[in-house]
């Protein structure tokens, strides 16, 4: 059994709802889909029990009716685990993970600015990366936002 497969087994053993939610498309890459309410448990397990102690970044996705968030975690042997959750776009609440990974702060601010996610528990601080005068409710990485909207506003 490869290392990746043993991680898969370990996860399924502890979280039976992950049974058919784990993909290993290539060496050192694991993709996991998890529901938002179970996410924290799985994240905690990955960090504390199987050594995924480094957060690379968080990717936000506009998936139509939902917003997807992928948390990319790595460990020393080069394996990357990409855990994805989806939250409804009309109420895109996620919980901050800075308690587990303090490095998440800037990545979380990024999904707030660019995709309009609402991150519960993220402390006050300057926004990132959009400018202070950016209009409310405009989230550039959402699919209904086009870059020519920006040019129109300038005129």
């Amino acid at each position: 059994m490869t290392k990746e497969e043993s991680i898969q087994q370990e996860l399924i053993k502890n979280f039976n709802f992950l049974e058919d939610k784990i993909r290993i498309p290539k060496e050192r890459r694991i993709f996991v889909d998890v529901s938002a309410d179970k996410f924290e448990e799985v994240l905690k397990f990955l960090k504390e029990k199987i050594g995924f102690d480094t957060l690379c970044t968080i990717t936000g996705l506009d998936e139509g009716a939902t917003l997807g968030m992928i948390y990319h975690l790595t460990r020393q042997d080069g394996i990357v685990i990409n855990i994805k959750i989806s939250v409804p776009k009309d109420d895109p609440k996620i919980k901050t993970i800075i308690g587990y990974f303090p490095a998440a702060e800037y990545y979380e601010r990024e999904v707030v600015d660019l995709l309009g996610a609402k991150v519960e528990g993220l402390p006050e601080g300057s926004r990132y990366p959009l400018p202070d005068g950016w209009p409310d409710g405009q989230y550039p990485l959402r699919k209904d936002w086009k870059s020519d909207m920006l040019e129109k506003e300038d005129k």
Partner: protein, 395 residues
């Protein structure tokens, strides 16, 4: 004593890049720092979604003016993984070669900047002079000093001749000689050691908590390097040491980078002596099948990561880039705590935040004829002297 808040920026206190610090001081001592980033946000991720993969190839290389090859390689690797493309070996070797040349140019540039920040401008002059050797090689191989445009999906665009490889080997000997001198400077020059030691300390435990990357992590004893841990291109076919030290300060970051220069020369020699013959690229369709991939690359400043999601069309659904500097920002804020305001430039510079580098030749389009002419260094200098003379400045 009352606390004083000093705004520094958005003009960078050390480099040529905008970011804004609010430094809270007690006397000379920094007791807190908050940071505002984003002044350089150009919306490249959105722009990638709105363009084809071929256009993105050029756009993504322009994320950074120094580690342009890092971003382009990281991105093409992700797309190639989704498309299931097997890249020819020779192309992987060429990517590795250009990647290491880029690391040499970036580290020599950093060494000069660090020298400058501590008032050691001779070091700056020396290392930037030597950097020209590697810039000339890059210009010879790719046509450009930065933004090499060597990568394409399925391989590389230009082959490298035997003569060029010989030239590189010769240059490596010169650079190795010079780097030995820098190592001597770094380990024997008492003013440099005293100025950098115990400045900007970042304990190993903080690297692990804050997920710092690259030379910053390795200078605090964290043995982490994507080239070894998650090998890409031809790195699983070369042997090299991951340089780590336990100094945990700016001095350690200097030792790591000069040490890495020596490793880069060794990697380049191995690449050249083992470079396989054969094709340099395979054809990749313009439309990329639906899928997703996560790619990592050890850029000169640390781990660079790209996530690409495709939807079966000729444009990506999502491109996510995380450059190494963002991963080191939290660590940098930590390093500043309890140091003097005067240490801020070198501490900030010591994470080697990224800034753009400019070209040396200039092309002037003649409006009347539409033809263009290339100015060499000498005539460019003459042109600038005359321009200032016309403004009434005497030379």
């Amino acid at each position: 004593m009352d606390k004083v808040v000093i705004p520094v920026g958005p003009q960078h206190p050390a480099l040529k890049e905008p970011e804004s610090f609010r430094v809270i001081l007690e006397g000379e001592k920094i007791v807190g720092v908050t940071l505002r980033l984003g002044y350089n946000h150009r919306g490249i991720e959105k722009a990638c979604e709105e363009r084809t993969y071929i256009q993105d190839l050029y756009l993504i290389e322009r994320v950074c003016g120094i580690c342009s090859h890092s971003h382009s390689t990281c991105f093409v690797q992700a797309v190639e993984t989704i498309a299931g493309v097997e890249v020819p070996k020779r192309a992987l070797y060429i990517r590795t070669l250009v990647g290491e040349l880029e690391r040499i140019h970036s580290h020599l540039l950093w060494l000069g900047v660090a020298g400058h920040e501590i008032g050691f401008d001779t070091l700056f002059m020396y290392s930037w002079r030597d950097r020209e050797i590697v810039m000339d090689i890059l210009a010879d191989l790719t046509g450009n000093r930065v933004n090499y445009g060597i990568n394409t999906y399925g391989g590389v665009k230009r082959d490298i001749s035997k003569e060029q490889l010989q030239k590189i080997l010769k240059a490596m000997d010169t650079l190795e000689e010079r780097t030995k001198y820098y190592i001597q400077v770094a380990t024997e020059e008492i003013t440099l050691m005293k100025r950098l030691s115990n400045v900007g300390r970042l304990p190993k435990a903080d690297v692990e908590t804050l997920d710092a990357v690259g030379p910053v992590a390795r200078a605090s004893g964290v043995d982490r390097d994507v080239r070894r841990d998650d090998p890409y291109a031809a790195y699983n076919e070369v042997s090299f040491k991951v340089i780590t030290v336990n100094n945990e300060d700016v001095y350690g970051r200097t030792l790591v980078r000069v040490g890495e220069l020596m490793e880069s020369y060794s990697i380049i020699r191995q690449i050249i002596s083992n470079m396989p013959d054969g094709p340099i690229s395979v054809k990749v369709p313009r439309k990329i099948p639906e899928g997703e991939a996560f790619s990592r690359y050890e850029a000169p400043r640390g781990e660079d990561v790209h996530y690409v999601k495709s939807n079966g069309s000729d444009k990506p659904e999502r491109v996510k880039v995380r450059a190494p500097t963002l991963a080191n920002v939290k660590a940098m804020l930590k390093m500043l705590e309890n140091y003097n305001l005067a240490d801020l430039p070198i501490i900030v510079a010591a994470i080697d935040p990224c800034f753009s580098c400019t070209d040396r030749a200039i092309s002037i389009k003649k409006l009347d004829t539409g033809s263009s002419e290339i100015m060499d260094w000498k005539s460019l200098r003459q042109y600038s002297i005359e321009w200032y003379k016309r403004k009434g400045i005497k030379f």
